[in-house]
Symmetry: C2
Subunit: 323 residues, 2 copies
């Protein structure tokens, strides 16, 4: 088994290639080529029974692939008080014909971050009204929020980003440190202000209660929600989903189980057939896939097929380097 | 992260210590200290839609442990035609306080085999009528069947093993190659013959239809069934469970989902409250736990807490060696 460090992995990652691989994985999932079992969740509570950490295991296989993947991604939220990174993890690529381990990527969560960033960028670029003159709103100031802003700007050509965080200070810090010189990034005080300024909003927080409501936003509005990846998490007011013209899900069952989509379904505001698969939208020939004058929402929970796509891509690059 | 080869792992394994660790894991599971999420199953079908391989991912945490485990075990049944081992896998031990990877055991399925062998031996030794003068019946002639025979003889002192396989030739091969010099091992032609001779029967096959029926066996009879670890697998006639005085399960939910216990429940022959947890039986102070003159059955599906126990045990031994 080949074992690769996060440094070796990082050295071969190319944004456009990752975006292409992840996009293809959603399409192949919708075609029934790529499949994945239900994710495994290991939850850690402290003595007061509060959730302090989680570890997700995701897996996938693909009829077109020689490999299958088992991916581990953990978030230990108290690590930040210990000076340690919150996210960690690794990916294991195995032979789909013999079960033999092929490669272990000690990516410390990097591949999960990257395939998530790619999915967010692809999802944001879906809306017809989004172009290089649009303003991107980012709710969240963490590692994935920063990646989202960078990858969306990269893919769409957007040069204006507005950010809002748990407090103004963190949003200000995010804006001041924003690394893309050609992109203007500024902080706002609240989500209302952010919603007025933005043409698309990406939410990447661990919130457990709605961050934006229907009254706050102008139309057309395209929202990509990716924070809710476990039961109990929530970023959007379910009324937003009720009012939406289009709801796109990365995985119908996962979004029903613990995404924004499931919350709105359980609230009785929409029915379980309301969503359209991201892979179906991406398979359409036109470049900008979602047209409309109203609200469109993409609910992302993170799918094993993305993990297989990025691990296979990295293996192709690294095994070529090795020979 | 420390990475250990199967050779390094094998060098530190001690049967009695593994048995003790696995026994304790069942007790702590029953006490609510050790918990595990539902296992993940990745199934591989050939072009004719027949199952040709499976990969199980199991995980566990324990309030008394500094670690949690994610364990991968695969069975690629066509490997035997390729001259490759059918089983493969690895165990990943991670810090329960930071999520950081601690040790990767490239065990190629060894730790899964060993913790399964330990569970089978512990379970066989539970019945009061089993002692060193008993005869052990083994159905199955594979790797795990051999381990079961060895580990049961080791734990109980049994010196007579009778074996039955898919055909007489494989049973004969098993008996002739049986490695314990002080144990007499002989092959029989069918399960009826085996059932008449045996005081306890261990079944370790990938069967999908019953191998023993109620009419075949004498009483008292203690049966340990461990083949059924995925939906569709079955080794016992459900009537055996209906007739049993005691049904012990390693995990109520797993046995209900894909064990012999679940098959009998779904057939309406027993109700879902019929079983008693293996950990509960093991926690009893007396040495021989199941008394009776009738039929007793232990249904084993393999539990993540066993994987945590054996991986933690191996890490304790290996990290001591390293310092």
């Amino acid at each position: 088994m080949n074992i690769f460090s996060v440094q070796a992995i990082n050295a071969v990652l190319d944004k456009d290639e990752v975006i292409q691989a992840v996009k293809q994985s959603f399409i192949e999932k919708e075609q029934g080529l790529a499949t994945c079992p239900s994710p495994m969740q290991i939850l850690f509570n402290n003595d007061e029974n509060q959730l302090v950490a989680d570890c997700h295991v995701k897996a996938a296989q693909n009829k077109n692939s020689d490999f299958f993947v088992i991916k581990v991604a953990s978030g230990f939220y108290e690590n930040k008080h210990k000076g340690l990174p919150v996210n960690n993890g690794m990916s294991l690529l195995m032979s789909a014909s013999t079960g033999a381990p092929v490669a272990l990527f000690q990516d410390e969560g990097l591949l999960t971050s990257m395939r998530t960033a790619a999915a967010g960028a692809i999802s944001t670029a879906l809306a017809q009204h989004i172009n290089e003159n649009s303003v991107l709103g980012v709710i969240g100031t963490g590692h994935q929020a920063l990646l989202q802003a960078q990858w969306v700007c990269h893919l769409t050509g957007i040069r204006k980003v507005v950010v809002q965080g748990r407090n103004y200070q963190s949003a200000l810090g995010f804006a001041e440190a924003f690394p893309l010189a050609h992109v203007e990034c500024w902080a706002v005080h609240d989500n209302k202000e952010l919603a007025v300024l933005s043409d698309a909003i990406v939410t990447t927080t661990p919130a457990t209660a709605p961050l934006i409501s229907l009254n706050d936003i102008k139309k057309p509005m395209h929202i990509v929600a990716m924070g809710a990846d476990s039961p109990g998490k929530q970023e959007l007011d379910p009324e937003l989903l009720e009012a939406a013209e289009v709801i796109v899900t990365d995985d119908h069952h996962q979004c029903l189980a613990h995404g924004e989509f499931g919350i709105a379904c359980r609230a009785g505001l929409i029915n379980e057939q309301t969503d359209v698969a991201l892979g179906k939208v991406l398979a359409k020939p036109s470049e900008n896939k979602i047209s409309g004058t109203g609200i469109s929402i993409v609910d992302l929970t993170g799918v094993g097929t993305q993990d297989l796509a990025i691990a296979s891509y990295v293996w192709r690059k690294l095994s070529r380097h090795h020979t």
